[in-house]
């Protein structure tokens, strides 16, 4: 019996293999860009941003190798790239996936996304975005304040760094879900490459797998609060000759779907604000007036945005999904919603609390 047990233990030595490659024999891809190709070699121009680790661990180095390949598919692109590198290519640190603007405007994005969601090693929490003018230009950007390759981009989207209100953070799993889902359309941030900096101000709405609508900074901000991802922001209020800025430290933007004779979407907004900047001195008696002005301004902007969505027949907020979720006629509800949506009415109630005027009046 003891001999047998010993034999079992010895068998474990047979398990030793060299399946694992050392970290210095790997190239880590930190970001992938997909553009529309102009050459005959393939439909896509695929770019990998490969990190080059510094010699000394303390040194700041955001050096990266940009490798571009033209091909018809991701698999071929990876194969060709392998031939250009002396180490194993590793996607476990790929944290950003950028699609070129011309690609998403013309090509079906669900074809290219298949590889990303099928591969086990691409993180589903990788950030996605639209690169403008191209994904390649975005990947080439190396901000002077960046300490690790690609890190600046990740800080934009992860809320641990900047909390810019215009940045719509869209992880891969959410983008994929919105592509597949009926009743909620995909939205991606547009990353503008400007010299050695990024600027993320606008966003893109998709319909039928293609980019359909562009939102400006204010619209992205409102959409962000609709999606419940924005807690703090500021708004410019300009009306009746008054002009001031409010800082909102809590924004709640919700809606109810009232399906009756006349289907209505009732939006309600609760905000608590302080005055951030003003062109005039603010008298205490005028507080109530400031509150009304703010409410009107918010109401105007939100209604303008949802009507814009309605006119373009896009639905990034998910009104359609809410409709599906609250109706039992599962066979016909989607057809019905498509008929209702272009004619649905929007009403809105904004409740703003002005908490203070800052350090001065």
């Amino acid at each position: 019996m003891r001999g047998f047990k010993l034999l079992m233990v010895c068998l474990f030595f047979l398990l030793a293999g060299c399946g694992y490659k050392d970290i210095d024999k790997r190239f880590f891809v930190v970001a992938i860009g997909v553009d529309k190709s102009n050459s005959d070699h393939g439909k896509y121009k695929i770019t990998f941003k490969v990190a080059i680790p510094p010699d000394k661990p303390s040194a700041k180095s955001n050096e990266a190798e940009i490798i571009t390949t033209d091909s018809d598919s991701m698999t071929e692109a990876v194969r060709i790239t392998r031939a250009q590198l002396d180490k194993e290519i590793d996607f476990s640190h790929t944290k950003a996936i950028i699609f070129g603007q011309s690609l998403v405007q013309k090509e079906n994005v669900s074809e290219i996304i298949d590889w990303f969601v099928r591969r086990r090693d691409i993180q589903r929490i990788a950030y996605t975005g639209v690169g403008s003018p191209t994904a390649l230009e975005v990947l080439k950007v190396r901000p002077a304040f960046e300490r690790l390759p690609g890190n600046s981009l990740f800080l934009y989207f992860g809320r641990s760094g900047t909390e810019a209100p215009y940045v719509i953070t869209e992880p891969l799993f959410d983008f994929y879900r919105r592509i597949k889902e009926k009743g909620i359309d995909p939205v991606l941030p547009i990353i503008q490459a400007e010299g050695d900096k990024y600027s993320i101000l606008s966003s893109a709405i998709f319909k039928n797998y293609r980019m359909n609508l562009t939102l400006n900074d204010l619209e992205s901000e409102i959409l962000n609060s609709f999606l419940g991802r924005l807690k703090k922001t500021d708004f410019k209020i300009q009306a009746n000759g008054e002009s001031f800025f409010v800082f909102a430290d809590s924004v709640k933007l919700n809606y109810d779907l009232l399906a009756g004779e006349k289907p209505t979407i009732h939006i309600h907004c609760k905000m608590s604000v302080t005055i951030e900047e003003s062109k005039q001195t603010l008298a205490l008696e005028k507080m109530h007036q400031l509150q009304i002005l703010t409410e009107q301004e918010i109401r105007k902007n939100v209604l303008k945005l949802v009507k814009k969505f309605q006119q373009a027949n896009v639905d990034p907020i998910g009104f359609g999904l809410r409709y599906r979720g609250s109706h039992l006629n599962n066979q016909t509800e989607w057809q019905k919603w498509e008929d209702i949506y272009p004619e649905i009415e929007f009403t809105m109630k904004a409740e703003v609390k002005v908490r203070g005027t800052g350090s001065i009046y």
């Binding site: 019996m1 079992m8 068998l11 474990f12 398990l15 293999g17 399946g19 694992y20 490659k21 969601v117 086990r120 993180q123 589903r124 929490i125 992860g158 809320r159 641990s160 992880p171 799993f173 959410d174 994929y176 879900r177 919105r178 592509i179 597949k180 889902e181 009926k182 009743g183 909620i184 419940g228 991802r229 998910g318 999904l321 809410r322 599906r324 979720g325 609250s326 109706h327 039992l328 599962n330």
Partner: protein
Amino acid sequence: MSRFYYYLIFLNMTVNVVAFVPNVLLQQRFIGAVPSMVIALIVGTINAAIFGFCINRFPGEGLPEILNRYVKPWIRTLFLLLMGVTWFIAGIITILIFVDVSKQYINPEMPEWTFLFIFLAFVVLCAKMPSIKVLYLLELLLILNLPLVAIIFLKVYTHPYFSWDAVKEVGTHALTIPAWDSFTVALYTFAGYLNMVIFARVMKDQFQFKRGWIIGSVAFVNLFTTFFIPIGLLGTEAVGHARYPWVMTADTIRFDLSPIERGIGLFLLLYVSISLTSALIHWHVGLELMKGAVNVKKYKAKAQRIIPWMVTLLFCGVTFAINELLFQSQIRSFSIVWYTIRLFGEFLLIFLLGYCAWRRGHEGV
């Protein structure tokens, strides 16, 4: 009844989060999964209660001893053998899924048989321990894993991208005709209490009916989480494309300030110990049932030592064979057939046990 009873139930529920249970349920999300789960919730709780009521009559005894007294020997041997095989297959399915998940997500460069060898070695060596030691091991592993389960629960329920609208949309499909496959897999999540057929030997306390609600409510939370969380995070359509919906769901979790950012790392860590524990419990029960079937106590001391080795090594061979011969999709179909067979086995077992309890009542003991 003692805390081990709840551990066994809890373990079976947790391990099924990664097995084919969510896969089957979510494939049928629009065609009957929701009503099937409701029915399974009722049937499963009633089954557990009846089982507890019957086994209360035989304090300190396992199924082999009970059948020994009240049933004809050939029925007893046949039934125990079949039950033993069923339990072994339960373990095999867990191991095979685990090998597949490990190969895909932990180390794709390692050959499958290496994974199998390591897992089987652990399971075999632990399954041969005495029942009480197996229970202590179970307690230890569960307590170590409880914080991980809690973190994952917290993270998915407070996920900023969670969509309750998607959950409601699938909820509106509650008025469909129940689907058989969904019912069998949903009922399987309750099956942890069945391990008591062996572990009742070492538990002296009685099953208490006033605590029956614990099983029902834990099962409800478990089924709700298993089914609706992937829908809320992956979407009503995209969730149908996932082979292991919960592995994918875990990959939507981000730990911002943790050394490993991907939630999937934590999830796999949890799953390693949970599925190995589950497999070893199933194999232990299977082995004890087999020992009861051949009445191992009658044999000489040497034969008593060798028989367990023979049985476990035989099933190791079966595991390797299934892994070699069947594709992943075939393993899935194989498990679905097994879930149905097991369901009839469960009812048969409860019936037999009920019969024995009735006989005992008539004896006036």
